[in-house]
Structures are given as C-alpha cells and as structure tokens.
Point group: C2
Chain length 232, copies 2
Amino acid sequence: MCVNILDMQRELKERAGIFVSARDIERTLAALQTTTDIWTTVERSQVPMRVLCALLGILHEQNLIAIEDTQLILTDAGRAFCHEHQIAPWHATTCHTCNGRGVDIASLAGVVSAFREIARNRPEAIQDFDQGYVTEETTLARVAFLWWRGDLDGKEIIVLGDDDLVSIACALTGKPKRVVALDIDDRLISFIDAVSNERELTNLTTLQHDLREPLPDELVGKFDVFFTDPTE
Amino acid sequence: MCVNILDMQRELKERAGIFVSARDIERTLAALQTTTDIWTTVERSQVPMRVLCALLGILHEQNLIAIEDTQLILTDAGRAFCHEHQIAPWHATTCHTCNGRGVDIASLAGVVSAFREIARNRPEAIQDFDQGYVTEETTLARVAFLWWRGDLDGKEIIVLGDDDLVSIACALTGKPKRVVALDIDDRLISFIDAVSNERELTNLTTLQHDLREPLPDELVGKFDVFFTDPTE
C-alpha cells in the first residue's frame, strides 16, 4: 500500500527496478489535474514514457486514478492526495509559437512546404516494426534543432530507423554533406529513394538494414552525427 | 602551433586543463562568422564562458581572430580556416518569440509589468561582489522555467545570491510557499526587504550572508528548491 510519495518511489524501485524522482511523481499528478490524455500527460510531466507507465500502474492500484477506455481520470482520492501534498495543477508557461521547443521551423524556409507535400504520400505506420511517426512539425523542429546545434550544415549524418523521414527533411535543406537513412522496412527505403530521385537530393541515400545486426563495416566511423528515435 | 582542431583541443587540455569538444570549436567559429560581440558569441556558440575565453586566447595566438577594443574579428586566416574545415556561419533557427528559451514570460501575467517597475529602482551592479545582472526578461524567463519544471508552485525556494532579483519575481507570482534570498550585499538585502514590505509579499524574506561561509544551520535541509547564478 502506497500512502505517500516515498512509498511510491520504493514500490517502483522494488517491483520494476525503475527510479522515479519525487518531482516526477508530482509533475505527473500536476499534469493529470489538467488532462486525461496519456500523450498530453507525457508532454506536460516530462516524465519518460517507460517510467510514466509504471507509475500510472501504481496510481491506478492505489485508486488515485481511474482508467476509462484510453482516458486517465483522477479519482476523488487522487484529488485529495494532490491537495494534501500541495501538488498544484500544471500551468502553461511554454512558448506558444514554438510549443516550448525553442526552435522555429520557419527558419527552414522552403523546406517546410516541400516536406509537408512529401509526407502526404508516406507509407502507413505498421506495428510490425514498432512504427508510429511523429508529426511533420516535430520532424522539422528536430532538423531546426540539429542546425542550431551545429549538427546539420556540412555534416555527414546517419539516421538509424527513419519512419519520421528525418533524412528527407535534412537533405531538403541542402546543408548536409551526406545523409544516409537505414531502415529494416523496404517500403520506407523505397519511399525515401523515390523522393531522393524525384527531388534530385544527391546527398541522400538509403540502406535496407536490420539494426539488431551490427552496422556494415563500410559505415562504421564514417559519420559526424547519428540520429535515432528509439523505442520507448 | 595549432594547425587543426585536434591540436587546439590538446593545447587547451595541456595548458588550462580545459576540455573543449571539436563541436565547441566549430560552433565558436560558426558564431564568429556572424558577430564580433563576445556575449552574442556565447549565446550562439552555447560554449560555457570559461571554455570560450580559453579558446579565444588560442584563436588569437594563432592569428585566426583579431581583438580590437572589445570586438572579436575573424582574420583572413580565420576565414580560410573555417572554409578549409567546412565550418558554416551560424544560422538562426531559434524561436523569435521566446528567443530559443522555450518559455513564455507572458504566462506570468501581471508579474511582468510589476517586476519591470520594481527593477527600475534596483541597486547598481558593483564589481566588488562580481555582480552584473541579467536582463529583466531573463529573470522572468527563469521564473517561467521554474514553474514549468514544477519548482515554483507550492515550493520552498532558497536563492543563493540575488542581484538578478529572482526572489522578487518568484514571490510576485504568489505561488511559492516561501522564498528566502541570501546575499552578501546589504544594499540588495535592503532593496528586497523594502519591496517585500511595500508589496506585502509575506512569503519573501532575506538574510544577509557571505556564501563563502556555510549556510546557517536553521536553513539546512529546509527547502525544496535552490536557485543560483554562479560566477563564470
């Protein structure tokens, strides 16, 4: 029985070997006072998905939240817990223009509209490869971030798994020296190759590869930057 | 003689015990292609001041930059070095609304104008205590960030050295349980006390204290959050 935050931390540690900070728990409960959606909870709490899922399990067991369909609902006991522990509702202080990311996708100029047009024809995400791509805005923001950090212009970039089409967005800027996308999914490889040909993105190439296997020797140590969006 | 990036890294390591990454050097040279101002160089390169200063020393010795008054100027040799190493000029991808911070000070509502009004009468920064306060916008952005991270609302906060007046901005939100500002400078202590009285900020108190000495026992372990802006 978890009666306080310290007990929840111990429970998660013992049961799942997961370290969750007291502030993670507070931020999760702060978020759950303002949304019933799990993705919004991830975004607002800033708690990693794996930790959050384990924590939600304990909150559910303790009857602090109810789960109805896919909605997470704070119970009366949950609200009382927040009140008792002085956990206030999440408050929006993030920038509305960039959604808190700090980067402006408009800085990519012509790339934005070109990428959105390309992404309309992308292969559907399939569960076999744990796909589930991020929004076009997120992909573009990642490229703007790479650029800001000095990881785009003049660089050789390898993308490890690319259902988000980061390789295409990078190549469209015309800035990298070379972009190589690796994926197990031949639908994605064909799609990226087709875009590369159509748009004459001469520095964008692909390799169909199962990343459970080692990288091919000819690719080892040949890049300045790697990019990946790992599974949760 | 430093002829390449690896040599610069070695030189800094041997001479000053400072680790500088190759990307730090690249980002510094990317920034110096777009500004001659040192503060703008810090902002654009994202290299810590102490590292940047040591690096600028080496760039100067190597005649890659010239220093005129307070301006940093890439020499012809510097431009050739950038070209040879494919170091492109810094490119603005940061959000214009929040200046790349990701937080929106407008989220603090009434606090913004009240804080600006208060800050007009602040004590002048003096060198004796290595003061040199950040802009009002930066202080407000720090408070918005604290709020976003769950470090403001309902919290007990200790501010270690406060020429930036973070304690006042925190208290003005009405959200913290308690804010205590420590500073060696009695002008600052008097100023914060006067504001606290005038504005009836009941949760804002101060303590004149030299932080080279240990914290008073009664303050140890009594806070949820500490805030400080250390010297470079």
